[in-house]
Amino acid sequence: MKLFEYQAKEVFVQAGIAVPKALLADSVESVAAAAESIGYPCMLKSQMLMGGRGNKGLIPRVSSQAQARSEAQRLFRGEYSIKKILVEEAVDIQQELYLSVTVDPLAAEGVVICSAEGGVEIEQLAVENPEKILTEPFDMVRGLQSFQVKDLSYRLMPSTEATKQIQKVITALYQIFTSYDAELAEINPLFITASGQVIAGDGKLMIDENSMHRQKRFERTRDYYESDMEFEAAQAGIPYLQFDGDISLMCAGAGLTTTVYDLINYEGGSIANYLEFGGPNYRKAYEAMELCLRNDSKVILVVTFGTIARADVMAEGIVDAALRLKADRPIVTCIRGTGEQEAAQTLKAAGFEPMFDTEEAVRKAVALAKGAGRP
């Protein structure tokens, strides 16, 4: 679960990491009021989960109330359906660092990553000047040790007033990483101000989905999703991504669904939605098909090859859902795995054509999508 900047910064403050003075606003009026309170110049930071906000013009700097209003209006009405803006003081920056704590999956250990040259170009720096990226791996059972933090801080910076503050920030970010079961805790940029203060300019905190049972602090509201459909699918526990093509996927398993996605593209088709119906969801044919039908798609393509997710149960579910939902478009079924013979009989009896070859099924769906007018 990826948190919004304003949430990450709340966590930072609790852990003792300084952040710029800021107020959260959710309307043009409240942005204007917040800007007056913070003072000018200030930054209007669009709260969205996608990266690259700066380059997309989503973090304008404003110098007057009028400008704050007009920029807020632009942001709230723009294409990214921004719901909240963090109005933040413009900090007098002397240096921008990069700092993060994450898991190195290959080494299977924790790692602190930092650079004296932070900011938006960090990925480029990592490719072009990898020696400027410093890493400090640590044992996740024993934890990051104080001596490691100190050594890293002196590798990062010559000994200055800021060094001890940086040690505290590293330690605090590590503690956040641990106590929030984070996949990633990142500050980029980490400002050093003209007066020598160390302040988190941005905040990224990704909490491991598998640890949410002990991380109940954050509710996953509509704000976290790009569309109503994705939100509703998530509420139903169904992995779902919205696209704007012709074929609604209703497949089982991440790997197989992704493969079908590829195959449709190879065949010149286009995808309306990615939907995983399988694994623990294999009895949710009704909910899954309802989501697909709400799309402006031309065909529904069902591809499964389940073991525990029984083919016969899924076939029954598809037949039942198509009937009850009065499915208004062709449904191509390629349902294999445990109970596939019974599944084929069920499908046939209901007038579906049971297929056994994924690539054939994909070709059929693409052909149908291309040939089909709206019913």
């Binding site: 996949e183 991440a254 669904t257 590829d262 090859f305």
Partner: protein, 297 residues
Amino acid sequence: MSIFLDRDTRVLIQGMTGNEGSFWAQHMIELGTQVIAGVTPGKEGELIHDRPIYHSVRRAVRNHDVDAAILFVPPRFTRDAVLEAIDSGIRKIVTIADGIPLHEMVEIRASAKAAGAMVVGGNTSGVISPGEAMMGMFPYWIERVYAPGKIGIMTRSGSLTNEVTAMVVRAGFGVSTLVGVGGDPVPGTRFAEMLPLYEADKKTEALVIIGELGGSMEEEVAVAMQSGICTKPVVAFLGGRTAPKGKRMGHAGAIVSGGKGTVEGKIKALEAAGGRVAGRPSEVGELLRALLEEREA
């Protein structure tokens, strides 16, 4: 022969009395697996499929020789159950749990390495040597998928594995051992770590890896091929070639990050190392045949 497990492997099942554990224990036995005993705290004295249940792994290994353990244990208890198996000296462990907390998985892997143990999983269907034995959950009863043979298969996926394996079998091959390393960002065992076992296995003539975008496990296989650790022919099928950047499709392993882990990069690495990469599942069989014929020639 086969790798990791065969007819002689004595298997302990942790969490054997649960629905899932009991169901798959039955199938493991039916396939011929030597399921020796089970563990469920508080249930010592019970029998499941005529196998004795013990309170703890220690109590089980005191009464039986055990070579390997498979865990049917919820994800949040997996760390403890794996550490328990390691503590009792078990060195082959399969954990099928989907949803093991990342930080705990890191600890599991580090503990296993320190003890010289191999943990396969989580988020996997397990390991199967068709016709011999199984630790996991595979529809071995579908013969058009799980036919015995000479191809070693490694996979990060579930349903896709059935799909690709069916294509391998349709092309006239069979499977020596199929290892699902699992779809988590930190798996207990990585593709490349299985390669020495396949290399030493006389039955395995070629390898199929079923990968996907994200992570670096496919690239590591390429390195192993180039450094001579893996000299057998390798064909890969990789999902996610057309996946849009930044969209999170499927599990966490499938995040494209920082230019690494792209399917293009993986294809390049594998082909440079002499492997072949299939664009569609149906191509895997032809590529295997071509590579094996090249070798013979």
